[in-house]
Symmetry: none
Amino acid sequence: MTKLESLNPVYSQVKDPELVAVRRRQIVRAAVDLFVEKGFHKTTTREISRECGFSIGTLYEYISSKEDVLYLVCDYIHSEVETRLTRALVAHQNGKETLRQAIEAYFKVMDELQDWVLIIYQELQSLPHDLMRHVLRKEEEITAVFERMIRKGMEDGSLSVLPADVHLMAHNIMVLGEMWTFRRWALRKQYTLAEYTEQQIALLLQK
Amino acid sequence: MTKLESLNPVYSQVKDPELVAVRRRQIVRAAVDLFVEKGFHKTTTREISRECGFSIGTLYEYISSKEDVLYLVCDYIHSEVETRLTRALVAHQNGKETLRQAIEAYFKVMDELQDWVLIIYQELQSLPHDLMRHVLRKEEEITAVFERMIRKGMEDGSLSVLPADVHLMAHNIMVLGEMWTFRRWALRKQYTLAEYTEQQIALLLQK
Amino acid sequence: MTKLESLNPVYSQVKDPELVAVRRRQIVRAAVDLFVEKGFHKTTTREISRECGFSIGTLYEYISSKEDVLYLVCDYIHSEVETRLTRALVAHQNGKETLRQAIEAYFKVMDELQDWVLIIYQELQSLPHDLMRHVLRKEEEITAVFERMIRKGMEDGSLSVLPADVHLMAHNIMVLGEMWTFRRWALRKQYTLAEYTEQQIALLLQK
Amino acid sequence: MTKLESLNPVYSQVKDPELVAVRRRQIVRAAVDLFVEKGFHKTTTREISRECGFSIGTLYEYISSKEDVLYLVCDYIHSEVETRLTRALVAHQNGKETLRQAIEAYFKVMDELQDWVLIIYQELQSLPHDLMRHVLRKEEEITAVFERMIRKGMEDGSLSVLPADVHLMAHNIMVLGEMWTFRRWALRKQYTLAEYTEQQIALLLQK
DNA sequence: CATGAATGAGTCTTCATTCAT
DNA sequence: GATGAATGAAGACTCATTCAT
């Protein structure tokens, strides 16, 4: 955590890294709820500090702009996705089975964190360029997890995917998982998460 | 056009429908450019009116809130997508071939209008609920176009898709097309549009 | 009417005095209702013209500013008060009885036109100085009616009022009548119009 | 003061009640002058803040709408009337004499604060309903002061008023006092304050 | 470290009035 | 005489950010 913190592109006035971590966790928790409820633009810094339980002045001791809060939130959400995904991953005999379970786990995480995932989809654009790059890098890291799994399956012969398709397929898995959140207005009318997952896996892995 | 106008949820003070259509086209043209450049939130109504070449008062004769402009823009973009897609559609002997060409056409449109499509993805959330519904309905209409094509292919035997998968597949086509715009930060590094299209079609239609 | 019109301080583009009178009657009728409903400031000229049934351009053919409408309305209300008051006046044997009946009639008119009278009380201040003078003159004219009656009563011996009090008493009658409208929030809880009238007359004429 | 503050229907962002009181006094002082000069509608919030000596943002830390300023002003004026009236009241032997002196004092206050009283008469209508109720309640409280005095005079036999007339008489005193301000265009031509007071008392107390 | 009052540029929106047709 | 589209100054209010305490 402290290592991540030191890489953190968000500047803080306060020097005690322990305290910074604690306060930022508070900030993220408060902001996520508010962003879910009313979006980034309609949430004020005052509301965030109030929800955090400290003053607006204190808030600005730990960030240097409202966008920083959005970055912290996006970063946290990605971490949460990663954590939960990793936790759910179990190595199986063959790569195909591992991938199938990973997709299932991933879609489940998307469902659990749908409001949060939506924040990333909808508010990312409001980040300044350098902060956006950080977030996109994380997205790519998660994508890479799937890419590695696909390769595993190809190596052990359980999956037959063209080498040229591997990268794309990983992206597809990511997007089709996120799609469960950002197309929920259409998909929820027709599918449960289980049905959606099963059918997408079938299409992806070409039964 | 007048029929579309009458269905239009955006109120105008001005009674002449001809003029309303003309002015709104101006508004959309100006706003699209500005939204592409700086996003909806960072674009001011004054900038829009200035770009239109008329006064802020005149702008408000044709809309009743800034959100209306966003709606007009989203609506226009969807219409443009629909128009170009329809224009590109040619019936072929079998449904599979028609679908393949449709996907190709659709992806091409996504590429051409990528900045515009991005607006819908990024700013839709800023629409009031009733206006958002209108936009989502249009999205569903386009999705339905693909659904019908898939069914055609199933009927003439050129496509073998499970009935339960049809709806989902149509959504996947839509999303994988849009993904070319909202994941361009990753995809452009690896694929040209032609490559991307070819590979996605291969995956979708399971050669 | 045309004579009054010619004295009218409100300028009209239109030369046909007949038409001016007709249109202005429309304007007053529309505006009175709107002013009662939402007050002068919150009523727009557009609303007035819409309520009149003609365009905003036409409205401005018959007035030269929004304040003119207010003046026309105030003037009309005063005329209406005067007309109804005059209509109700019947000469009796003695002046005291005449006055008593006049007060009764006046209070009744105040009650009937309470919403209108309120407009004068509340919006008069929005008139430019010269128009306000016109309205106040009319108020004085009505006051003078009561003054003359009191003098009649003094002359025929039915009323004993000190000469120095005559003018003031007339003003008091006016104000106590108007008070029935502008203090209705308090008076209505305690009195009917009949009770209010009876008691005020008793106090005024010192039974 | 804090007790009054807690009953205050005007919300402030600022927590320190001491400071709120100080700033609001500034606001009232600035606004009263401006309202006297140009009326509520023609006074802008920017002018108020400028006159206060602080920024528009600061103004809005202590109120939440322009109407709040009007309420603060009305409230202050009433308080001032009450204070001055109370200060001037001296208990005399009998109730009639006390009342006479009270009326005199009240009329004197009306004269001193005529511009301020006029604000209440002319701008009250611009208050939202709930704020208007607060103001009217205060008006009733002052009215009740006179009512109690009249009853005192009835009890000690110095005044002979019908029980049914007490309430009305109190209202009449209030209105005839305020009339000195809102009919000054007519009354000033004929009376000095002393004359006006003397004659009204004579009429009210039926020599 | 924490506080929160102060700032003021910036935003959307309104609406009385004009004038070309 | 009638119309109504165009104008743009003006107004209320917001809110991210700072800085003295």
